[in-house]
Each structure stands twice: as structure tokens, then as C-alpha cells.
Symmetry: C2
Subunit: 544 residues, 2 copies
């Protein structure tokens, strides 16, 4: 097999790191607050991390969890953890202690890398976990080697942990049996069932997806990428790997703040950023937006919901291009792009916005999407007949971690079922109209309506309830609860909302509660569709 | 393995075609003289071609040879032949009948697609072949369905052949055993031994290489690519697949002509073209160069030899960017790029030209190159110590067709040996200084000096001879022959040159002949290095 080795290497984002560290060694890889790292420095830090993880006892296939801000260590983790042969589990920092504890337990994480700013959340999650979880603490921006009060004796600080590793390039290889199909990351996402599921990405998919982002976003070594999108969100939609692959510069933004974002955009000549439409709205409506013209062209990639004509128009005035992406955690983030064609440039702005609101076509590295009926036949490409969007290929997850039943359900018929309902336009672009799954997407984050219902049902006054998405100007959608109280019991709206906030991430709690009888079928099943129809009356789509 | 099918598709350029035909259906794929084809039309024509090939009897793994101009059918062949499961063998139209006959025979081509303008060459090659080779004739630009006098009764014309196929999308799949490692093309190249060798590319490499070209050249759906580079040359260095993948527009140029190229550049707003430095020189020195400023930015990619400071300067004056690529037929064409870094922008032009003359660093999709000594140890990265450039990975050929010995030799030590000698600079960029192989690269074309010597030795007056590269202003290098005549025999320089032109492609014939005693080692081996040193005296490099 010697000759085979000559003409085949496994696809992995790790090879992008090797290249960029070699080629762009003196250029700035990351600006993280007051610090900045060249590619040579980034390479050494990642080698240190990987060798420290190995010395500490991390073995191939182990899971290393991150609960960390949008800063250099998250990018280091996206390379250093797989370089040690392990799998990165980057957790949403807005989840509740219950949810974090569930993910730490379900993923079987052996080590947690944690931001000091999340110490209370982490302390509470570790209490619920039922076993010790050694933690490496990232300091705050002001003090890189801070050790929060919540730290336990066995815990370490990140910079001290790196010191235990060697900066020399580490010899790494992928699992010999799995090769490029080995798992590189697990991303937990809320599905239709109560608990989040762990979506597994492989090295091959992460590599191709990063190339897809480079081609779609036009990243190169002069690109300056601002981290408005959480790095934990589908591995920063793949940009955790893609920006390094392109040799570009990442500008950290530990937590999103529109004013700070504008400062960084101007100071560093930012060329690219990503975010849900709520991020775009916050940027466009901040006073700093109009302070001065931009010195470099800025392009924004948005997903989680279609950008509205208003926001597209506001961005155009600012000279900012907006590209609409579509995908799910199960598809490495963006699977589709509303690929813009220059013959549309001269259309009236309203028509351009309508075109741009479509979810579009598959990425260059992805297989064609289909819109199918229940028998898996393609619906006519008439822009009217609804069907479910299904995907397959290198840009689709390997499956849900330790959940073969859910995986089989998602992969029925040999395709990944998105749960999104839409139409195929005559020109081959898809457009979503509704959602088959009980998922609410609020500010780009998934909320399982069933998960919220289950919490409400734990309240002693609640007899039954239904949670549905309702349109919201700022967040796209928010959850609304319809509740029937037990006879003789009473509860206020505010009380139920705060009850949910105690047990769930705050963004998952309903924004309003309506006390009412629930509409039901003759067999007694709650008709959530009737509730949704009422809330979305007069709108063309049932999603936002 | 149903779930595996959901999250893994084989990598093949055919998926790029499917996507672009679906997404860019109304946009112009190819302008071919007076005709132009939309992506929808291109898709139908390719489906017709593939289904016609199958109906005609082409079976998976069969070879289909092309001897064709830079026009639409060559691009159609790069997709239609593999769609039929077969392998495309695109032959250099400047070879001699002997050489063409050898390649047709060695590759075992079952069908030839041939341009009418090459009818005499093809007629002569078919005579030498020793068996019938059915041929599909491409007409001239003026008459697409022309049937030249040289056609035999069983031959077909291309448009009539397409008519026998169906325009409906064809169901295709890769060889189930080989998958993405199946061979997609064989490109014959002159090596150090007498006869050209067939370099095999696989679908995986062609796919990744096309993505590499898109990233390196910045191709997108607004790109307009002019075909100054022969489409037969390493599959147009991968652009045969890459331009379609990007959804860009190809502008045919049936044979290179600088005046015609300038017309097309201005008429169609060309954004990208490729060529050896000789092509750049011809463009820069044509009167049409300065007729009017360019309306769109033009970027030129050059390989086969480093661009000179003169040509880079001339191009800068015209507002044209030049990028230097390096590779071999064995590496899908370009394996390396002199990746430009913006910190060099303000250097004096001479220094910039020196940087740009370096061969550079690996493509984003390629493994790092090494410069090694004879024991396969890396030479120091000091810009001075010479070693051989070796490569491996997805961007290296599968091997030489039906030549396991040559493959093993090329792959010794687990790396592909380029035969190019160079240095590794301290910044990780490589620069070539000499060539270990007896190869002359003239105007971007390989010439085997041994092949030329073998022809000369067939002349009755020649006792012994040596052919080496000598520097040439226009072609970079040209072959020069040193000849010792048999006692009592005589021959003129012009006679020997025309003898070579009878048996070889004209560009391979020596430009001058020197009658002399050959320098030899004590064991009687001809010291070609002594001859080369003399010819290249006073130059820093022994290649051009």
C-alpha cells in the first residue's frame, strides 16, 4: 500500500493549520482583546495544547468539552483537541445548569475547558453532574491566568496547562480504522424530543465545509473576520476552521455587543462577519453604524432566519453586502446559500429582497437538496407545492452521539430529514414556508417546544399546555405558551415565565402565556397547528 | 451501511456539473466562436455525449482519446466521458504522428474524438497504429458537422454522434470498488525515458484540485475565463473542471493567437487566463495590448517557468496581476503557488519580482512540499542548500498507466520525486534552481532530452550525441544538441534538425547543433552537466 499512501491523504482541517502556520507564520492569526497571536504563535500554542492534553491522559476518541467565550482558546481547541486525537464538544454558554450538566454527562466529557465569566453556571452544572469533572479555567480578558472562586483543587488554569505541553509540532494521525470519517466534534442541539442531541461531525466533512465557506465567503489571507457568531455554534458554522485555512485574521469578541463590534470593525478593517438576523438588526440600529464610512468592504453572512427587506435595505445603505445561508446543526451549519446572480443586480430593491429571502441552493461542496413528499418523491418545482427539505452527503452529520434510534429516524429513506417545509422554485432555489418539527428558532438558537412544555407541566397549577412559535420583530420567533390550569388552582403569567427561566436557558422561556382551553382532535390530540395558524394569520409563511 | 450513504458521497467533478447546471442554468457556460451555450444547454449536451458513448459501446474504465482544439467539445468531454464511466485521454495536438500513434496504442483508446484541423496528423497516426480506431470528427469553427477527407467510413461527426444520445440527465455512478479513487483521466507526458508516460488522475484529486483552483484564482460565477492554455495540458491545469464548478464562463480560443486573445479579453470582459510565460510575453508585446484600458480586472496565472521581472513589470503597467504557479503533470498541474502576502506590496519592484519568481508553497488542498537530500532528509531551510522537491497526497497522480516500474521509481521512499532541484527559503517558500531529470521545458511543454538523442542516433552520420537545455529569451529553454559524427561521415546542422522534425513534434527538435567531442567521465559516461554548465555560465539558476 506504499503507493496508495503517496497519492492519498486523509482530509482533515488539521492540514489547513499546518499549511497556514508554515505559509503565514508572521501574519496575525488572532486578535484577542489586547493580545494578538501570529500564525507561528498560534501553531505553537496549539501544539502545546495537544501535547498537554495527551500528557494529561486524553486518549483518542475522548471528548473534551468547552464552555468558553469567543476568544483565542476556542480556536486553539478546535485544532488542539483533534490534534490530540480527541473530539471537541463546544457547549452553548446560554444554557441552564441542568442542560449543561446533561450535555457534560451524555457526551462523557473527560475534561472541561471553561471561561471564568461562566463560573457560576459551571459550578452549578458540576454540582448536578454526579461525578468530578476536571476543569481548565480560562481567565477573563484582563487576566489570562485567573482562577475563579468556583475552581476546585484539581483544576488548572489554561496558560499553566499550556506550559505543560511542548511547542514543537506534534506528530498526529487520524484513527487508522476510521481515517477521515473519524469524529472531530459533537455539537448538542435541541431537537423535537426533550433533551438536546449530540450531532457528530467528521474530519472529512469539516474539511470540505471549511473549503465551502472559503469559496462562498471569498475568504483569503487578507480577510479579517469578526467573531459576532458564537464559536460554539456548529463550530462557528465552520469558520473556526475556515478562517485559519484561508490564513485570515480572527478578531475575538468575547460576547456580542453592537457598539464594541463597530469599534472592532473600524479598528481592524473587518471584511467578514456572521450572525442571525437579530445580530444584523442590532448592528444596523446602533448609533455607531453611521459614524464614518467603512474603509474596507464588509460582507455579512446570515442564517437561522431569512433577512428581512428592511435589514437588507439598511445594510445596503451602509455599503454592506448580505448573503443568506441556510442549514442546521445536523448539516455543519450552512448547507445552502442564496447564491446571488448578477442578472438580478438591477431589479427593484423589493424584488431583490424577495429573492434574497429564499434559502437557495446547495453549497459547492454539498449534494443537491431535495423537497419531497411523504413518499420521498420530489414535489413539482412550481414554487407552490410544499414538501420537506432533505439532504445527504459529505455535509451531513454522521449521526447523533449514542442515539442510534434518533439517527435512524433522522436518516429514514436514506436522506437526512431537516423537518423544514418548503417549496422548490422553478429556478431550482428552495424557499422555506413552515416547520414540521416542534422547533422554534429564536435569534438563531433552536428551542424545542416540547422541552418547554415539559417544564411547564412540572408546575403544580398547570393541567396541560402547548408551546408554539409566534412571530417577533426582534428575534424572528419567540415561544408562546397556551395553558389550561388545574381546576381550583391559579397562576399568573409572570410566575409561569419565571418558573421556566429557573429550569431552562432564559431564551427558551415563553415571552407570553395565554390561559385557555386547548383545541383538540376528536381523539384528544392537541392541535398545535390551530394555535399556530391563529398566531401567524395573514402571513405567507409560518416561520420567520 | 444505509447511514453511511447518508453522510458520505464520493468526491468527483461530476457533482460540480450537476450543481452548476441546476443553479446557473440560464447563464453562459461557454462562448465558442459564434456559438454560446448556457449551463442548461451544456448539461444536455454532456448528457447526450455520455449516453451516446454508452450506446456506442464504451464501458466503465475504457479510454476515450481527444485530439481537439480549445473549444466546447473538450469541456464536454471532461464531463461526458467520466459520466459514461470512462477515462479521458486528451492528447497534445503538437505531437508527431509517431507520438500520437504511440499514445493511442499505449492507452488502448477505443474511440477518438478529433478536430478536423488536425486531420492530416490523425490520418498519419491512424496509419501507424496497426488497428482501426473509430473516430468522431469535430468540425471546424465554421462548420460544426464537417467530415474531413481523412475520415473513414465507420467514422462519425460529433453533432450527429450527440444526436444519438439522450439529453435527459444520465444516472451515473463511480466504480463501486474504486469509488472516488477511480481514474478520471490519463495525461501523457514526456519523462526521462524515451516514450511519454500516462499520468493517471483520480476523481478525488480532480475534485480537490478544482476547488484548489477556485480558491487560488478566486473564481466565481461572474468569472470569465479565456482559454489561452491548452485544454489538453493536464486537463487545462484543472480549469476544465474548475470553471464549470464555479459557474463561470469559458471563452474558447481554438489555438493561441495574441491578437485574437486581446479581442476576446475586451469583448467578453475576461477576468482570468493561464499560460506559460511565453504566452504572457506574446500578450504583452502585441500592439493590441495598449489599445484601451481593461474594463474588468484581469488576473493571469503562469507556470512552466518563473515569470521574469520584465514580464511582471509589463503586466503591472497594463493593470494585470500575475500569479506564479508550479507543478508537474504528475501533480495535476499546479501543486504550488507563490502565495502573495500583502506586506510585500510596498517593496521595490525588483524585490517583488524576485519574490514572485519563487515557486512558493503548496496549494490549500495539497500536502506540504519537502526539499530533501538523497537520504530523504529535509535540507536546511537556508535558501542555499539544494535538494529535490518531493510531494505526496491527494494532488499527486495515482501512478503511470500500465507502468508499475516507472511508478515505483517515481514514488520511491513514499514520496513523488519531482526531479526538480531547489532550495527551501527560511520563510518556507521553495525556489527551483536546477533539474535532476533530463527534461527540457520549452514554452511550458516537456521535452525529454533522451527522446531527442534517440532520434539523432538513428541518423547514419551520428556517432554519439547529448542534448541539453539552453536558455532562450522567448521559450525559456530550448534543446541544443552536441554531436560527434562517425569517422568519414558528414552532416550539416540544418539536416540534423530537419531529421528530428520528421520524427518528433517540431517543438522538440534542437534549435542548434554543435559538432564536438563529448566530455566524459573516466568510465566513459557523457558528462551532460559539463555541457549545461557551459551554456548556463554566469546564471544563478540552471533552469529558466
Amino acid at each position: 500500500m506504499q503507493s496508495e499512501q503517496v497519492w492519498r491523504t486523509e482530509l482533515t482541517p488539521l492540514s489547513f493549520l499546518t499549511r497556514s502556520v508554515g505559509v503565514y507564520r508572521e501574519r496575525v492569526a488572532i486578535v484577542d482583546g489586547g493580545r494578538s497571536y501570529s500564525y507561528a504563535e498560534l501553531g505553537s500554542r496549539i501544539s502545546r495544547l495537544a501535547s498537554a492534553l495527551r500528557s494529561w491522559g486524553i486518549r483518542p476518541g475522548d471528548r473534551v468539552a468547552y464552555l468558553a467565550p469567543n476568544a483565542a482558546p476556542m480556536i486553539e481547541g478546535h485544532f488542539g483537541v483533534p490534534m490530540a486525537g480527541a473530539i471537541i464538544v463546544a457547549i452553548n454558554v446560554r444554557l441552564s445548569p441542568d442542560e449543561v450538566a446533561y450535555i457534560l454527562g451524555h457526551s462523557g466529557a473527560r475534561l472541561l475547558v471553561a471561561g471564568a465569566e461562566y463560573a457560576p453556571l459551571i459550578a452549578a452544572a458540576r454540582e448536578r453532574l454526579g461525578h468530578e469533572l476536571p476543569t481548565v479555567w480560562l481567565g477573563s480578558a484582563a487576566d489570562a491566568d485567573e482562577r475563579p472562586d468556583a475552581a476546585r483543587p484539581a483544576d488548572l488554569t489554561y496558560e499553566a496547562f499550556l506550559e505543560t505541553g511542548s511547542p514543537e509540532p506534534l506528530r498526529w494521525s487520524l484513527d487508522p480504522d476510521e481515517g477521515e470519517s473519524a469524529t472531530i466534534s459533537i455539537n448538542y442541539t435541541s431537537g423535537t424530543t426533550g433533551r438536546p442531541k449530540g450531532v457528530m461531525f467528521h474530519h472529512r466533512g469539516a474539511y470540505l465545509n471549511a473549503l465551502g465557506q472559503i469559496v462562498t465567503a471569498g475568504l483569503d489571507s487578507d480577510s479579517v473576520y469578526l467573531w459576532t457568531l458564537p464559536m460554539f455554534h456548529c463550530n462557528g458554522w465552520g469558520f473556526d476552521w475556515a478562517v485559519v485555512a484561508a490564513g485570515g485574521t480572527s478578531i475575538s469578541l468575547r460576547a456580542f455587543d453592537a457598539g464594541r463590534a463597530w469599534q472592532l470593525i473600524r479598528r481592524h478593517g473587518v471584511t467578514h462577519l456572521c450572525g442571525a438576523p437579530t445580530v444584523l438588526t442590532a448592528l444596523a440600529n446602533h448609533p455607531a453604524a453611521h459614524e464614518a464610512p467603512l474603509e474596507r468592504p464588509l460582507h455579512i453572512f446570515t442564517g437561522g432566519a431569512p433577512p428581512s427587506p428592511t435589514i437588507i435595505g439598511q445594510m445596503e445603505v451602509l455599503g454592506i453586502g448580505v448573503t443568506h445561508l441556510y442549514g442546521l446543526t445536523e448539516t455543519y451549519g450552512p448547507y445552502a446559500v442564496c447564491a446571488w446572480q448578477s442578472q438580478w443586480n438591477d431589479l427593484p430593491s423589493e424584488q431583490r429582497a424577495r429573492i434574497k429571502a429564499r434559502q437557495g441552493v446547495s453549497y459547492i461542496i454539498a449534494d443537491p437538496m431535495r423537497v419531497v413528499d411523504e413518499a420521498m418523491n420530489d414535489v413539482p418545482a412550481d414554487g407552490q407545492t410544499m414538501g420537506e427539505v432533505v439532504m445527504r452527503g459529505n455535509d451531513v452529520m454522521k449521526g447523533y452521539f449514542n442515539d442510534p434510534e434518533a439517527t435512524e429516524r433522522a436518516f429514514r429513506g436514506g436522506w437526512f430529514h431537516s423537518g423544514d417545509l418548503g417549496v422548490m422554485h422553478p429556478d431550482g432555489y428552495i424557499e422555506l414556508r413552515d416547520r414540521a418539527k416542534d422547533i422554534i428558532i429564536s435569534g438563531g438558537e433552536n428551542i424545542s417546544s416540547i422541552e418547554v412544555e415539559q417544564v411547564l407541566l412540572r408546575h403544580p397549577a398547570v393541567l396541560e399546555c402547548a408551546v408554539v412559535a409566534v412571530p417577533d420583530e426582534r428575534w424572528g420567533e419567540t415561544p408562546k405558551a397556551f395553558v389550561t390550569l388545574r381546576p381550583g388552582r391559579s397562576a399568573e403569567e409572570a410566575e409561569l415565565i419565571s418558573f421556566c427561566r429557573e429550569h431552562l436557558a432564559h431564551f427558551k422561556a415563553p415571552r407570553c402565556v395565554e390561559f385557555t382551553e386547548l383545541p383538540k382532535t376528536s381523539t384528544g390530540k392537541v392541535q398545535k397547528n390551530v394555535l399556530r395558524e391563529r398566531e401567524w394569520a395573514g402571513r405567507e409563511k409560518r416561520i420567520h
